[in-house]
Each structure stands twice: as structure tokens, then as C-alpha cells.
């Protein structure tokens, strides 16, 4: 092997390493509270819970309107979408938004690691890293993500984190007319959300997806919704 061969290989190796390091450098320079979604799945315990009581939800869509207004979403797009369930004797409404999962497939499939899980369990999209490949939109089993064509990025419920961190509640919770949405701190065992979850009345939606919803939970009392229902 000639000296020239060695230096050629050296250069190629350095170029590849340099490129990979640059990419990693951009990733690592993200804010301190973002961590790799894989690690967090084992250690995080969500601090908040947002429980939707479907026995009270009237399908009025006030939550959807409040969310759309608050987030200035384009016409025809919402972070929250609803499904009509049940039958002519017992009709109820399932309002679905990002479940803020502990094991979110949207974070797993994101090629740039733009979607991440915070220490407090909230799943966010770092817009500066999103390339708009739309892979996450296919990967969410709850169909909770939208693609904002104007900005070219994926987007979803962010739990109105600014209000929550200031001690308030998300827009959808405040807007709910029949009081079907309950928000609270899981750290407080006396909070209504803690009691509802401990009692088993509030449960994660579709746990068989394996995504471990960490913040959203539902009170559903329709016998047709027992495990083994339609999927």
C-alpha cells in the first residue's frame, strides 16, 4: 500500500467523522431539558395528567375551537380530533390529542430527533430541527399529529406548556363546558387526577399500541370498549 493510498483513506475517514460530529454537535446543543426519548422512557414519570371524562363529554368541540384559536391553526387543522362512538342507545365522543407518551413512536421514527420527551413527560417538537419528512405523522397510532404546510413542520398538542408551567391549565381544559376535562399534578396524591388514576377509573387509551401514554387518560364506561374491541 502506497503512502498516497493511506492518506486517501485518512482523508475519507476524517471527512466522514467530521460530518457525523457536526451533526451530533447540532443535536447536543439543544436545550438542557431535552433528552433522548429512549433513555427517558425508563426513568421519566410524568408530572401532569389530563383526564377526559367521556361520560360528561357532549362533543361540543369547545376544546377544539379553543385550541385552534389559541394556536392560530390553519383552517381545517386541529391538534384535537373527535370520533363518535357507541350506538343509538349510548352515543359518546372520544376527543383525541397527543397522549404525551412515555414511549412515543413519533420520537423513535424522527430522523433528526426533533421530537423529544421532556423530564416532566411532555412530548415536544423542536421546530428548528424538523425537516418535514412527515414520518411521525404516519407513526402516531392516535393520529394526533398534523403537518403544517405553511411552516413545513410537524406539529401537535404541546399541553399549553407555558400556562401549565405558570400554574395554569391548557386551553382545552379551561374551555370545556361540561367539565369533562380534568387537569392536575400527579405529584400530589390528593389531586383529583391522582385519585382517578389510582382508582383505575381513568386509564390510558388503547394501551395495546405499546406507546405508554403518560399524561392523557380517559374515563370510558362503554362495555364495547373493553380490550379486544375493534382495531
Amino acid at each position: 500500500m502506497t503512502k498516497k493510498d493511506l492518506s486517501r483513506r485518512h482523508f475519507l475517514g476524517l471527512a466522514l467523522a467530521g460530518g457525523a460530529t457536526a451533526g451530533l454537535g447540532v443535536k447536543l446543543s439543544r436545550t438542557a431539558d431535552s433528552e433522548d426519548a429512549g433513555e427517558l422512557a425508563q426513568t421519566a414519570r410524568a408530572r401532569y395528567a389530563l383526564i377526559i371524562d367521556t361520560t360528561k363529554c357532549t362533543g361540543c368541540q369547545a376544546c377544539v375551537e379553543a385550541c385552534n384559536l389559541r394556536n392560530d391553526l390553519p383552517e381545517g387543522q386541529s391538534y384535537i380530533h373527535g370520533r363518535v362512538k357507541g350506538d343509538e342507545h349510548l352515543t359518546w365522543y372520544l376527543m383525541v390529542q397527543c397522549q404525551h407518551c412515555a414511549n412515543p413512536p413519533c420520537a423513535t421514527v424522527c430522523p433528526t430527533d426533533a421530537t423529544y420527551v421532556r423530564d416532566d413527560g411532555v412530548v415536544l417538537v423542536d421546530e428548528k430541527l424538523c425537516v418535514g419528512c412527515k414520518y411521525c405523522i404516519y407513526a402516531c397510532p392516535y393520529d394526533a399529529r398534523i403537518f403544517d404546510a405553511q411552516r413545513g413542520v410537524a406539529d401537535k398538542c404541546w399541553l399549553c406548556l407555558d400556562w401549565v408551567l405558570a400554574g395554569g391549565e391548557p386551553a382545552c381544559v379551561q374551555a370545556c363546558i361540561p367539565g369533562a376535562r380534568i387537569f392536575g399534578q400527579l405529584d400530589d396524591p390528593d389531586s383529583e387526577v391522582s385519585k382517578l388514576i389510582a382508582s383505575g377509573r381513568a386509564k390510558p387509551l388503547r394501551p395495546e399500541f405499546g406507546t405508554e401514554p403518560a399524561i392523557l387518560a380517559y374515563i370510558i364506561e362503554d362495555p364495547a370498549e373493553e380490550p379486544g374491541g375493534e382495531g
Binding site: T2, V109, V131, R206
Partner: protein, 334 residues
């Protein structure tokens, strides 16, 4: 869910399959020595020549389309290198794989061209500081230790393995979304957690690669005088039939699963996508090529008319298969 991936994504997947399949065939002919059997393959073997030279450009064109499919990444292209960084994402595996495969494919094409056109070989080697003339027969080689033919074999072997990986990866990318799109993660056999799509896309890639290199290039460039090889055309019949069987398995299992997967299968067989399926995939992708390849297996080679019709319809059906898989996606029912 609003449909997100459309024709651009379908074409990108198709080009990935076609390009990798074409190179896989070229590599197969190179490594089995078919390319050098003087009594069976004329000096210029269309399968390896066409397969190796078009593969790189075809897959590269697919990547260009992928970039145009991006949202913010297209407007701010400096975000695109970030796609190399997230090891858990199948899309990251893909960009790494393509980054290695595409230059290798171009290299293989260049080496094959150099082998077929000795004057090009001489021209290139004279300009390389590390090129040599083999004193035994006066041929030029890019490297002192290895003849051009040996270099080609190494590149073909690595390229061939990567080509199979690229072809399979297109299916892995789609099925990796998991439970969110039940039709895409339908298993091949009920007991194994092996999704159908990677297998289907691999067979389809090999089939479209065969169609491009053998049915079209070899038949047309030799004006119907390609070397006879009945066994080879029986293998092609096997690919065509195998693809139909796997596609049938996919639809059958989707029905059995119920829910969103069954709805996708219904749409394909009798619903909104049924014309694409029955005409553009079953007739173009199975009936016409089957007849053409039965003829070729019987006679030992294609005539221009059977090669053209089988090849063109197989290639087209490969495109529509990718489109159908994407268009028929339905989110899991909640």
C-alpha cells in the same frame, strides 16, 4: 388523517427498488460469471452494462425526490445532515445506506464502462496517479495489485449486498411505523413478527430490476438474439409469481386482522383503489409478464415484443404497487 405522502414518495420508493434491483442483477451476472461466458454472453453484456450504469443515477434521482418531499428541510437544507443522527429511526438507516450505496453504484457503473470500452479505461487510468499497466496483457488497471476485473468483482459483491439492503429497506421504512398503520405492518405469516412489506418490496425490486436489465435492455439491445437460458426465465417466472403470492398473503392477512387493515384491503380489492390494483398491478404486473415469461422460458429467450411488453408492464406495475401501498394507508381505528 390528511394523506401526507403522495406520488413523490411512491416514485422515490419505486426508483429505490428499480435502481437497486438493476444493480443486483448486474452483480449477479458478474459474480456468477455469466457475464464472461463467451459462448453465452457477447462481449458487451447488456445486463451488467445497463444494470450497473443506470443504478446510481436512478437511485440518486429518487433521493432528489425525497428531498423535494421534505417541508422545512427543503427551505433550510442545512437541516438535512441532521437526518443522519438519530439511530432509532428507519429513515436515518436509509440515508446512511443510500449515502454508501449511491457512490458505490456510480463506481460500479464506471468500472463496467471502463471494462467494456478499453479506450475509456486507458483514458481514465492514464490520468490516475495510482494506475498501472498490467505487463502480462497490456491492460490498464486503476490499482497495482488488482486487475480491473477483480476490482469489479469486489465492487459488485459489496454493491450487490447493499442493493438487496436498499430494496428491503424501502419496505422496512414503511412497515416501521408499527401499529399506527395496521395495513403496513401486516405480518407475512401469522406466527412470526415479520412484516410483509419488506419481503414484497424486495421481490418487486428484483423483479423490476430483471425487467429493466433482461426483458428490456438485453432483449432490445441484442435485437431478440440474447443468449438462451431457460432456467433464468423460469427464475423470473418464480419472481413474478412469488410477488403475486406475497401480495395475496398481504391482502388475506389484512382481512383476517380486521379493523383498519381490513378496510385498506377492501379499498384495494373492491373499493377506491381497485382499478389501480386489478388493472395496473394484476394485469400489468402479473398477467402480461407471466405470459411473456412463459414464452421466454419455453423458447429460452425473449423476442423483442415479449421482452418489451413484459419489461415495460413489470416496471410500470412496480411504480403503481408502491403508490397503492402508500395511498391505501388507513390509521388504526380508535
Amino acid at each position: 388523517m390528511h394523506a401526507q405522502w403522495g406520488w413523490l414518495a411512491a416514485i422515490y420508493l419505486f426508483l429505490g427498488g428499480l435502481g437497486s434491483g438493476a444493480l443486483a442483477y448486474a452483480a449477479l451476472f458478474e459474480l456468477t460469471g455469466r457475464r464472461y461466458e463467451m459462448d453465452r454472453c457477447p462481449e458487451v453484456c447488456p445486463v451488467t452494462l445497463v444494470g450497473s450504469t443506470v443504478s446510481g443515477p436512478i437511485v440518486a434521482a429518487g433521493v432528489v425526490l425525497l428531498i423535494f418531499e421534505l417541508g422545512a428541510g427543503l427551505r433550510e437544507p442545512w437541516r438535512i445532515p441532521l437526518m443522519y443522527t438519530h439511530a432509532s429511526s428507519a429513515m436515518t438507516w436509509g440515508v446512511w445506506l443510500l449515502t454508501i450505496f449511491i457512490p458505490l453504484a456510480f463506481l460500479y457503473g464506471g468500472l463496467e464502462l471502463m471494462h467494456v470500452y478499453p479506450s475509456l479505461n486507458a483514458w481514465v487510468v492514464e490520468r490516475l496517479p495510482w494506475g498501472v499497466v498490467d505487463p502480462r496483457d497490456g491492460t490498464y488497471s486503476p490499482l497495482r495489485e488488482l486487475s480491473l476485473r477483480r476490482i469489479k468483482r469486489i465492487v459488485a459483491a459489496v454493491g450487490g449486498v447493499l442493493a438487496l439492503a436498499v430494496a428491503t429497506y424501502t419496505g422496512i421504512l414503511i412497515s416501521a411505523v408499527g401499529p399506527a398503520i395496521p395495513f403496513w405492518s401486516t405480518p407475512l405469516v401469522p406466527f412470526l413478527p415479520l412484516p410483509t412489506l419488506p419481503v414484497l418490496f424486495l421481490i418487486s425490486a428484483l423483479s423490476t430490476g430483471e425487467a429493466l436489465t433482461v426483458d428490456l435492455a438485453a432483449t432490445l439491445l441484442t435485437r431478440g438474439q440474447a443468449p438462451r437460458g431457460r432456467r433464468e426465465h423460469f427464475i423470473h417466472l418464480g419472481l413474478i409469481t412469488g410477488e403475486a403470492v406475497v401480495l395475496g398473503q398481504l391482502l388475506a392477512h389484512a382481512f383476517l386482522e380486521g379493523g383498519a387493515a381490513a378496510q385498506s384491503a377492501r379499498d384495494i380489492l373492491i373499493g377506491a383503489h381497485s382499478i389501480v390494483f386489478w388493472v395496473l398491478i394484476m394485469v400489468l404486473g402479473f398477467v402480461i409478464p407471466f405470459i411473456g415469461h412463459v414464452y421466454a422460458a419455453g423458447r429460452g429467450r425473449h423476442q423483442p415484443i415479449t421482452g418489451l411488453s413484459s419489461g415495460a408492464s413489470l416496471v410500470l406495475s412496480g411504480l403503481f404497487l408502491r403508490y397503492l401501498v402508500i395511498a391505501s394507508a388507513i390509521h388504526a381505528f380508535l
